[in-house]
């Protein structure tokens, strides 16, 4: 009797009736099954089954959208872990920062990861927008996806900004005070909107709770929905577009005999 190998065990596992009830297709060693990997998966089906080979080149997109998504995933994971140690109340919020630093295993690492991930996400989202602009990838049929992208950028800034208050240190408090004072300048709606945002006339415990709910529930859910639309629309709009193609920008130009 031969000793079981990893490959042998996994091949046997993938043929069991339980596994096949979850994933209906077999091993992805044929193009049919490779298509099914994408088509039969809720998450992968935002992609087309086939992509243009040249879109995989680094120079095509610089992977900037991908970096933004990777940051998003890292931020969701580290953010959920941070939520286990955080109370959105004064002064416990600040004490929790100290707990993370000195008591919680890898607490400081977790907070650092969340902080730098957030900075990278804002930066990568900006860079992605510029890449799309200079490649003229906002042109038809991708107009609407550009608009979704602008809303996503605003949601990203909103997420980063609401998260900025949560440590409840001097940096957070005054950073948010300065920002929300700018809102006040808007005619008519400025003052009521600021009151709604802060739950009062100054940055207080109410503001902390509101920013916490926005940061941990409202904006993350909004982001998931919009990102799903954004990536799905990439497929619907004919895949990612890199540098403008000379003859392809007008569809009729290349097709004439």
């Amino acid at each position: 009797m031969r000793a079981p190998t990893v490959g042998g065990v996994s091949a046997w596992l993938r043929e069991t009736s339980v596994y096949r009830s979850i994933v209906r297709h077999g091993v992805a060693d044929t193009n049919l099954n490779r298509s099914l990997v994408v088509m039969e998966n809720l998450f992968l089906h935002v992609h087309p089954v086939k992509v243009r080979a040249k879109t995989l080149r680094l120079s095509h997109t610089l992977w900037l959208g991908g970096i933004t998504i990777a940051c998003t995933l890292i931020l969701y994971a580290s953010g959920i872990l941070l939520m286990f140690y955080y109370h959105p109340s004064v002064p416990q919020a600040y004490r929790d920062m100290k707990e993370l630093q000195f008591v919680v295993d890898d607490g400081l690492f977790l907070r650092n990861l969340h902080r730098w991930g957030a900075h990278l996400m804002v930066f990568a989202a900006f860079a992605h927008m510029l890449r799309v602009f200079y490649h003229r990838a906002y042109r038809p049929p991708r107009q609407f996806n550009w608009v979704v992208g602008v809303v996503l950028l605003l949601a990203t800034l909103g997420l980063s900004y609401t998260g900025y208050l949560l440590p409840w240190d001097q940096l957070a408090f005054w950073g948010v005070s300065v920002g929300t004072n700018m809102v006040r300048a808007a005619p008519w709606i400025g003052e009521p909107f600021r009151f709604l945002l802060l739950g009062g006339h100054v940055v207080s415990e109410n503001a902390l709770l509101r920013f916490y709910v926005l940061h941990c529930v409202v904006l993350p859910v909004t982001l998931i929905v919009l990102v799903s639309i954004h990536i799905w629309r990439v497929r619907k709009d004919g895949g990612v577009q890199g540098p403008p193609e000379d003859d392809a920008s007008s569809p009729s130009a290349g097709e004439q005999p």
């Binding site: 400081l108 990861l113 200079y134 042109r139 240190d169 001097q170 300048a185």
Partner: protein, 236 residues
Amino acid sequence: MSALPPISIEESNDPLATPRRVALVRPDTRPAVRRREETYVMTFPHLVVREIILFQVVTIALSIAALLFDAPLQGIANPTETPNPAKAPWYFLGLQELLHYFPPVVAGVLLPGLVVIALVVIPYARINLSAGPLWARGGPRLLAAITTAIVGVAAFAALFDCWPVAVPTLAVGVVMLAARGGERGSRFRRALAEVTLPEWIMTWFVIVASVLTIIGTFFRGPGWSFVWPWASFRSW
């Protein structure tokens, strides 16, 4: 293009058997119609594997950053003790820098609002869809219009003593005007001559926004006074 299937025409008197199809391909047509003959690869594994590798690279890079650099944490929030200066996060420091020059309703509402509106309408404005090289067409009137716009924006900024906007505007404007007639120049001048008006505007915006953000982040000290970044003062 030669690999596309030839167009076949079937004739029949039975409309149920052979529906007549008339195809009119317009520039704003659905993407499926515009598909071109190209090399395709399977998304799985080619794209999915790259996505996983990208995720791993970002995770490793951020983990290294998180091990090396600690997130800032100052003393507990104290509403009675205002730090000087009180700074917003870095991506809002360009706005805060503008607030130093313009009234709040301009810097805090009007200008950011205009930027967002301008971004949203980009794909719907004809100028962005059909723009060729800026100086390719249009004679003295275009030159006059562009010059007026550059001088106007710079003068408006200078009116409020906002040199971080006025100076980059003039700098970009000079390069923009110098690009005129560069079609037969060096490679660099030819590249400049290819730039479209929307690209000039976006480049100008990015440069101005970067200058404002860098000044706001590194060159502002107590009372929003100008300081050198290597001065002992640090607010963050």
